[in-house]
């Protein structure tokens, strides 16, 4: 079984919502669409207060290089363009749309349920389409997808890797997309393969999903140049550098991008939205997300396709309120996801889940002195020394930490997960990375 070499941990999988088919979540009453839902600069709004918008209409345009278009997820009128609180409580500029009773799509969007198999667009047209439809990476970083397909001069893409590892505990949205939309996903991958101009695309998928693997392998026979690669179950199998190593045995050096070793990595969810964008002309206005938690009954585990701008509280209301013992709500997986404070905050493009975690599970034990057991060193998939960072950071020696390759850390959380002394290693490293970036900017 293929896997990466260094480090890694085995958190409890907790994939309890795998059997819940993807359901369409009802429209919200008011949609709050942030102008910055992606990595990079915020988009510039092209609508004003009082404008009527249709579903799928462009409402904010990308003007910077690293930026993505934003389309209206609903039909209605623009209530205001103002700062709104996101799920972490921070104020960000958003377009607020009051939702009309009847939904009206933009004419160009193909809303029929038929699967469109022929890829008619040329390589360049596909990339332009991806850019126009505001597709961003749905694996978590929300990096605008089209930039990955603008290969810099002197570099050559050899492999397209599709990340379906879904190594995070709890998350099942990728699992369900593969099962419920197998053919669309594979068409999406073919589109991406054409856009990149490579002969081969690999789908990396963790071996704990036998059903999706079987389905993909069965269906992939009808497609040219798509291979399914089952991977060993080990966190963080879905991290970009680890995935590239597992599948191609190539190592992305420190500070380099996947394209430097001839690889482009996309999430399987992105492949699905690329299918919708390129083949059906549908912009990225929905996200497929998991609503799960150990305290919820089997009937209340859901996988939804939700419009962007829907508040998290709508999801909570859908299942009849949060369970009594909910202590933490996480957007994303338990290893790298973020805890939210403002449940009225809206869903954005990269949202992949709403996890309800009980107090017992989320509790962080009191910090103790490091006993230098080396478990963090053993767990680190980048081969770093978190214990050393911790002592350097606590003494304010950020530069020395950077000399020990602190910036290679991808904050996967393996060190904190395995630390017997419960030291907040990942927290400290994250702080140091922020400080170092600030120091660099000052220079």
């Amino acid at each position: 079984m293929r896997t990466f070499r260094l480090g890694g941990v085995h958190p409890e999988e907790n994939k309890i919502s795998t059997n819940a088919k993807i359901e369409v979540f009802p429209l919200p009453k008011q949609a709050v669409v942030f102008l910055n839902q992606h990595l990079g600069a915020p988009a510039t709004p092209v609508v004003a207060k009082g404008d009527a918008v249709k579903t799928g209409q462009l409402i904010a345009k990308a003007e910077a290089f690293v930026c993505a278009n934003i389309h209206s997820p609903v039909t209605g009128t623009v209530n205001k363009i103002d700062t709104m609180k996101d799920i972490f409580g921070f104020n960000k500029t958003a377009i607020v749309i009051d939702v009309a009773e009847t939904e009206e799509w933009v004419e160009t969007v193909d809303t029929t349920p038929d699967i469109k198999r022929d890829i008619t667009l040329s390589q360049k047209e596909i990339v332009d389409k991806i850019k126009e439809m505001g597709i961003v990476g749905l694996g978590g970083a929300t990096f605008p997808t089209h930039i990955k397909y603008m290969i810099p001069e002197g570099k050559k893409a050899e492999y397209l890797l599709i990340n379906a590892a879904e190594c995070e505990p709890y998350l099942t949205s990728d699992h369900r997309v593969i099962l419920d939309h197998t053919e669309e996903v594979l068409i999406g991958i073919s589109v991406l393969r054409k856009a990149l101009g490579v002969p081969k695309a690999y789908i990396g998928i963790e071996n704990n999903k036998p059903e999706p693997i079987a389905r993909l392998q069965e269906m992939a026979k009808q497609f040219e140049g798509i291979e399914v690669v089952p991977l060993k179950v080990k966190y963080p199998q879905g991290a970009e550098k680890q995935l590239i190593y597992s599948i191609t045995r190539r190592s992305v050096p420190s500070g380099k991008l996947p394209i430097d070793v001839g690889c482009v990595v996309n999430n399987i969810g992105t492949a699905f939205s690329v299918y919708e964008a390129v083949q059906k002309n549908k912009p990225l206005i929905e996200t497929i997300m998991t609503l799960t938690g150990k305290s919820l009954g089997q009937q209340q585990q859901h996988n939804f396709v939700v419009r962007i701008g829907t508040p998290f509280s709508d999801l909570a209301n859908y299942i009849g309120g949060l369970p009594e013992d909910t202590c933490k709500i996480i957007s994303g997986g338990t290893m790298m996801g973020k805890a939210i404070v403002n449940i009225d905050g809206p869903i954005v493009k990269g949202t992949s889940s709403m996890l309800l975690i009980s107090e017992k599970e989320a509790y962080r034990y009191e910090e103790q002195d490091c006993i230098r057991c080396g478990k963090c060193v053993k767990a680190c998939p980048m081969g770093l020394e978190p214990y050393l960072f911790s002592s350097l950071i606590n003494n304010g020696k950020f530069q020395e930490a950077a000399d020990n390759h602190l910036m290679d850390c991808m904050e996967c959380g393996c060190c904190l997960f395995s630390c017997p002394a419960h030291k907040p290693l990942t927290d400290e490293i994250r702080l140091a990375k922020t400080k170092l970036r600030q120091m660099q900017q000052k220079k």
Binding site: A339, E385, P420, T426
Partner: protein, 327 residues
């Protein structure tokens, strides 16, 4: 609804804790305790109890009255130190010496550096070496082990005392008597030889070591490289002059080598972090042990070897970094 809790990722934990690690070590030490009682009678148990109790007491006193911090005696680390110290002592040692050893081990070996995790040297070994230098006579007079049948017969223990095979061998080499009576290998393996309480029985140490390996408290690197180096090095010497040097199998089965390699050198706090660092550490311990045994004035060199290598750990950590991704 209650207040939402917020923290940085990750939001789950493996459940590993310092307490659990320390108690795992304690569990791994149980076979040693049983063999100690088996071969040296209930006197051995008394020494262990006194050692553990005084370690706990000193740690509590120091934390309560000197450092004025929260007491950490429940984490089990003081019990580990107490047991390991006791296992490095002869079973007939006067109890007041044991208490002094515990004071040095906890007070100087551990707490003076700031407590668990900050000590550069293995506390139990600090205590043991202090006693060895301060009370050489008491520390090198070992009772002969009892037969399994006469554990309960009192009085027999104090009557017979003698040197360990190592000391006897050294004496024999010094006097030029070439034909030294080697201990039966099976006896050495089971523990029916003279020596400190915990170091005599190789089988008990191996059982404890396997338990710790399964629980991932230790990794194989240090014990294997330590014992392997000692084996190879002594084999080379033995090939050169079998009458002057001890044979390799007896070398590793006698004295504190097994105990040191499995329980003392693998102490997390005082051993290197990376795999290669651990291997280097083990090799250094093995070499130093054989050198001290053969050319030093002491018949046994495990404690000194480990303490010397403990001092090198920061350097090893600096020199042998873990392998980085894409490097």
């Amino acid at each position: 609804m209650r207040l939402l809790n917020v923290s940085g990722s990750p939001h789950v934990h493996s459940g590993e804790s310092v307490k659990r690690i320390m108690w795992d070590v304690n569990i791994a030490l149980i076979p040693l305790l049983l063999t100690a009682i088996l071969f040296f009678g209930f006197e051995a148990l008394f020494v262990c109890l006194v050692s553990v109790a005084s370690c706990l007491l000193f740690q509590w006193l120091i934390e309560k009255f000197l450092l004025k911090t929260k007491t950490t005696i429940t984490d089990g680390s003081a019990i580990v130190t107490g047991l390991l110290l006791a296992f490095n002592l002869p079973s007939n040692l006067p109890l007041w010496i044991v208490i002094i050893g515990a004071l040095v081990a906890i007070g100087i070996g551990k707490m003076s550096f700031g407590g668990l995790g900050k000590n550069p040297f293995n506390p139990a070994l600090v205590g043991r070496v202090f006693l060895l230098i301060s009370f050489p006579v008491q520390m090198t007079t070992w009772p002969r082990p009892l037969g399994i049948c006469n554990i309960f017969s009192n009085g027999a223990v104090d009557a017979t005392t003698g040197a360990t095979p190592l000391a006897a061998f050294k004496e024999a080499v010094k006097n030029g008597t070439a034909n030294f009576d080697m201990p039966n290998l099976m006896d050495a393996f089971l523990g029916h030889i003279g020596g400190s309480m915990g170091e005599v029985s190789a089988i008990a140490i191996i059982i404890g070591g396997i338990y710790m390996l399964c629980r991932r408290v230790i990794s194989w690197h240090i014990p294997v490289s330590f014992i392997g180096t000692a084996l190879v090095f002594s084999a080379i010497l033995w090939c050169i002059n079998p009458s002057h040097y001890m044979d390799p199998i007896t070398t590793i089965l006698t004295g504190g080598l097994m105990l040191g390699a499995v329980f003392m050198a693998t102490d997390m706090v005082t051993s290197p972090m990376s795999k290669w660092g651990k291997v280097v550490f083990g090799i250094g311990c093995g070499l130093l042990t054989i050198i001290i045994r053969n050319w030093g004035s002491y018949p046994e060199g495990v404690s000194f070897a480990i303490l010397l290598m403990n001092a090198c750990v920061p350097l090893i950590n600096k020199g042998f970094k873990p392998k980085r991704f894409a490097k």
